[in-house]
């Protein structure tokens, strides 16, 4: 943040002052990865801010177009590496739509449970990092990661990996959940509200948090809709749009949950909407765990392709499926030409599109506020640059 490389002289109402260009990133503790911002400052106020992306462009789409459909499932884990299960779900849904596959009911329930667990992971980690940006160095992250580890233990037990789960398959899931694991998930779900209350006691009415976050980085609902912002960022601005409700994919229509909305659309609302969303996720988890049916976990049509995924050839056509990932609308667009490899594979990454609005939110704010606004947008560079 302290690299000053150019200063332009301007004359403002007879006072000689100069704009200052500041380069933040790509190696900077608050940019959440290798993101770079070119900020132009007038004193401490941001006059212009240009995001520079591409430092983590690792050719996800090109690689996926050169391999079989099932082989790019593990690559979707690495898109948004906080919540691999949601990414798997989006990709699985799009290929299932393309090939016209039915998913057994138990598998749908397992998918919903996993997607909601990842939402918990993502939101606690985001709030922890947001407070890191606010200056509470690392302590909230310690609380957040303590809870995250408990959920990661479950993921490790069912999929064999902590972060990169690669658990979903087209037409189902890889392994069944044993009653013991379901009991452990239930244990996490019942213990989680206590943690949330502890977290909220420390933060929600904290004076410093309120003063730093309220009325900072306000995003109007009109602008949010026009810029196709999705996820908690949109709902914090008061727009009632949740793809779990709108699209009703998987078995979400069967569960009772509310969509929390924010009144203003500032950083505080985004923080609080995430807290409320976690509570709603817990409600969904509670219902899913109590009503999960017994039965198959894999579509019969897809069982032969588990051993030989290269023989899986969806018919010619295109499909776009979207899920409400913790960061927003995550969509996968797949075009098949009848061969084992997709002809076109595109990812609609929520954090990339949410990032386009960054300059509008930061204009007129202080530099220190730009950092927390970026933190509240919740980006993951693996998904932004793909």
């Amino acid at each position: 943040m302290n690299k000053i490389f150019e200063a332009k002289d301007i004359n403002l109402a007879g006072i000689n002052s100069s704009l200052l260009e500041v380069n933040i990133g790509p190696q900077h503790p608050s940019t959440h990865g290798v993101f770079r911002m070119n900020a132009v400052l007038d004193g401490e106020v941001i006059v212009s801010l240009k995001p520079v992306m591409g430092y983590l462009h690792r050719n996800h789409e090109q690689i996926a177009e050169n391999m079989s459909y099932a082989a790019s499932m593990p690559y979707t884990d690495r898109l948004d590496y906080f919540n691999s299960m949601s990414n798997n779900l989006g990709y699985a849904l799009s290929v299932e739509k393309l090939a016209g596959l039915e998913v057994p009911e138990r598998a749908e329930y397992i998918r919903v449970i996993m997607a909601e667990l990842t939402r918990l992971i993502n939101h606690i980690a985001v709030i922890g990092f947001l407070l890191n940006d606010l200056g509470a160095f690392f302590t909230p992250v310690l609380y957040a990661f303590r809870e995250r580890e408990k959920i990661l233990d479950i993921f490790e037990e069912i999929s064999g990996s902590r972060m990169m789960c690669n658990y979903l398959r087209f037409g189902g899931v890889k392994r069944d959940l044993s009653p013991a694991i379901l009991e452990r998930i239930r244990g996490v779900v019942t213990a989680f509200p206590r943690f949330l209350e502890e977290f909220e006691t420390l933060l929600t009415k904290n004076e410093i948090l309120c003063m730093r976050c309220q009325n900072v980085g306000v995003l109007s609902p009109e602008l949010a809709v026009n810029a196709s912002i999705t996820g908690p960022l949109l709902r914090a601005s008061g727009v009632n749009y949740d793809i779990r409700k709108v699209d009703g994919y998987s078995v979400y229509p069967r569960f009772q949950f509310k969509v929390p909305l924010g009144p203003k659309g500032d950083v505080y609302d985004r923080y609080y909407v995430r807290i409320l969303e976690m509570r709603e996720s817990l409600k969904i988890l509670d219902q899913a765990l109590s009503t999960i049916p017994a039965g198959e976990i894999m579509s019969k049509k897809m069982i032969p392709f588990l051993k030989s995924p290269r023989n899986f050839k969806p018919p010619v056509g295109e499909a776009y499926a979207r899920v409400e990932a913790p960061k927003g609308e995550l969509g996968f667009y797949v075009v098949s030409d009848g061969t084992p490899q997709p002809w076109r594979y595109h990812v609609r990454a929520p954090s990339f599109i949410n990032l386009t609005i960054l300059e509008d939110m930061c204009l007129g704010q202080k530099v220190a506020d730009a950092i927390i606004i970026l933190g509240s947008v919740d980006i993951v560079l693996g998904e932004v640059d793909r």
């Binding site: 983590l56 462009h57 690792r58 310690l142 303590r146 990169m164 056509g317 295109e318």
Partner: protein
């Protein structure tokens, strides 16, 4: 790795006798290395997925502070260790080398994860560097995708063993007038220029990848786009067929 040789002339019996009185006889090397190994400050520098596991290592459950390496410094000037955690792309590689050059001696590098070792799963990507060891010397390679936090701790312990084996008299970072800086690659029309730094890395004569895994499966260039219009017509709901005329009810007409 062996410890730095104990060159003190004091015999063991006397040493033990002195130790009972609270006097420790050691060598300068061992004392110096003990200090360095117990306070490795890593750089707070995450590139991709592995950075999250790096943060998890620093958190309460794995607690890298037990090894004296909990102080993540955002500035390369204050760091001893660079953990290259994640995929190094061709756009990012010059910055990584620049950060390495900015670190103060003695400096160490751990490559965390398959990506920074050799490209990992993204090795076929056009924008992915096949290993950061092409430009900077690496002390510990840590495989995994991503490596577990325990693996990072193990890598740190391996680095501590390496530090234990170094001697002030011979270590290159202790020589006078040393300036260990490596040329920063530039982004050219076909990737990075130069492709590697011959000082630290040489390409192998035989292609190990081909030797171990056979010829890569070439899909061949697809040139014909699928005709989606035909499919769309086939899939579209057909114009409603005229409703089957009900059989004439006998008796009325």
């Amino acid at each position: 790795m062996a410890l730095a040789p104990n060159t003190s002339q004091v015999d063991d019996g006397l040493k033990n006798e002195l130790a009972k009185k609270g006097i420790v006889v050691t060598t300068m090397n061992q004392l110096y290395n003990w200090g360095r190994r117990s306070s490795i400050w890593p750089m707070q520098f995450g590139l991709a997925c592995c950075a999250i596991e790096m943060i998890a290592t620093a958190c309460a459950r794995y607690d890298i502070a037990r090894f004296g390496a909990e102080l993540f410094r955002p500035s390369p000037r204050q760091a001893d260790l660079m953990i290259v955690a994640g995929t190094v792309t061709k756009k990012m590689a010059p910055q990584v080398v620049r950060l390495y050059n900015q670190m103060a001696e003695p400096k160490y590098v751990i490559t965390m994860g398959a990506c920074s070792i050799a490209g990992g799963p993204f090795i076929d990507g056009y924008n992915v560097l096949r290993g950061i060891d092409r430009y900077i010397p690496v002390d510990v390679h840590l495989p995994g995708c991503p490596p577990r936090p325990e693996a990072l701790l193990y890598g740190l312990m391996e680095l501590q063993k390496k530090i234990d084996g170094q001697q002030i008299e011979t270590a290159e970072w202790y020589q006078q007038g040393l300036k260990r800086e490596y040329p920063i690659p530039e982004f050219g029309p076909h990737g990075l220029i130069p492709k590697f730094n011959p000082e630290v890395w040489q390409p192998r004569e035989n292609d190990l990848r081909k030797e171990r895994y056979g010829q890569p499966i070439m899909i061949g260039k697809k040139s014909k786009a699928p005709n989606l219009d035909v499919v769309a017509v086939a899939a579209a709901p057909r114009p409603a067929a005229p409703a089957p005329t009900p059989p004439p009810t006998p008796g009325i007409a």
